[in-house]
Subunit: 242 residues, 2 copies
Amino acid sequence: MLFFTQCFGAVLDLIHLRFQHYKAKRVFSAAGQLVCVVNPTHSLKYVSNRHAVGQTSMEQGSLHSHHPLERVHDPQLIPCMCPLFSCQWEGHVEVVVSHLRQTHRINILHGAEIVFLATDMHLPAPTDWIIMHSCLGHHFLLVLRKQEKYEGHPQFFATMMLIGTPTQADNFTYRLELNRNQRHLKWEATPRSVLECVDSVISDGDCLVLNTSLAQLFSDNGSLAIGIAITASKVHAAEAEM
Amino acid sequence: MLFFTQCFGAVLDLIHLRFQHYKAKRVFSAAGQLVCVVNPTHSLKYVSNRHAVGQTSMEQGSLHSHHPLERVHDPQLIPCMCPLFSCQWEGHVEVVVSHLRQTHRINILHGAEIVFLATDMHLPAPTDWIIMHSCLGHHFLLVLRKQEKYEGHPQFFATMMLIGTPTQADNFTYRLELNRNQRHLKWEATPRSVLECVDSVISDGDCLVLNTSLAQLFSDNGSLAIGIAITASKVHAAEAEM
C-alpha cells in the first residue's frame, strides 16, 4: 500500500514539475522578445533654417511623393540629409546608416518584431528617442518625439522611416502597438522614406499621436514600451514569389 | 477525343464558376456588415455650469471609480444625468435609453460588430455624432466629438460608454477601428459608464484621439467610417460559463 502511495506521490510531483516547466517556458518566451531600452537623445537643438528647408520640400510634393532625384540616380547614390533635426550632415543614402551609428551613436536592432522601451518620458519637449531597426534586408529608423505643437501642451509622435527611397518604402508596412491598463492602441502604415523630412511627417500628424495623459496611461514608471513589427506588403511579397 | 475535350472544358467551367461563387460570397460578407450613417447632432449648445459639475465629480474620483450611489441602490435606480452635453434631463439609469431615443432621436443599432459612418466631418467644432448600440444584453453609447481643446486646432475624440454602472462596464471591452489609405488605427479599452461624464473622458483624452489631418486621411468624401466591436471581457465570460 505504501508503495502505491509513494508511486502516486511521485506522479503528482511529476505533474507539478511539468506544469512548472511549462509555466517557466511561457515566461521565458514572453521575455524572449527583444526589448531595447532607448534613452532620449541629448542636446537636440532645433535649427529653424533646416526646418524651413524641410517643410518647403514637403509642401512641393504630395504624400509619398517620389524624390525628384530618385528617377535619375542609382537609389544608393541619392543625396540625403541626416534625418535628425540637429544635424547638418549631408551624404548618400548608402552611408546614412554608418553616419547615424558613428556620429549619433544610434543602436541597430535586428529582428522582425522588437519592443522599443523609451525612458524618461517626463523630460520636457522637445525630446527625441531614436533607434535603427534592421530587418527584411533594409534599415528602418524609429523616431519617437515629444513636441509642443500647441504651446504648453506636449504630445508624443511616433513614426518609422525607411533608410531608402519612397519607392522602396512602399513595399513595407510597419506596426506600432501600445498595451497597458486595459487599453490597446495600434497604428499601422507604410513607412516614409528618410528622403522626406521626419519633421514634416510629425507636423502633418500622419503618425501615431499620443497626448500626455494617454502616454501616462501606457507608461510604466516613466517608460513607454512600444511593440514594433515590420512586414513586407502584399505586392512586395508577390514579387518575391515570382 | 472530342468527348474528353468537352469534359475538360466542363471541368474548367465548373472551377471558374466555383471561384466566382466564392468571390461573390466574400463581397457579400463584407457588404453584409451593418453600416449606420450618423448625421451630426444639431443645436448642441455647451452649458458651462453643467460642464463644471461634470468635471468636479470626475476630479474627486479616480478612473473607473465607482459611483457613490452604486453601492446603495439597485443599479437600475441610480440617478443619472443625460449623457449629452446640451441636455439638463435627470432620471434613473433604466430610463436613459428611452430618453435618448425619444428626446434626442438617437438610433439604436443591434449586433456585436457595426460600422459607424459619421457624415459632414467638415462642420465646425463643437459637433457630436452619437448612436446607441445594443448587444450582449446591454446598451452602449458611441460618442464622436469634434472639439477645440487648443483654440484653432479642432480634434476628433471617440469613446464608448455603457448605459449602466461602472462595475457593469468593467465586464466589457470595446474596439474602434479606422482603415483607409494604407493606414490602420485601432483603439481598444473598457467602456466607461454613463454615470461618469462624457466630457471628462474627452478632456482627459482617455479615448481615440484624431487630429484633423489624420481624420482627413481616414475620411472618404467628408465621411468617417469607424468599425465598432464589443466583447465580454474574460472575467465576465468565465462568470457566464460558471
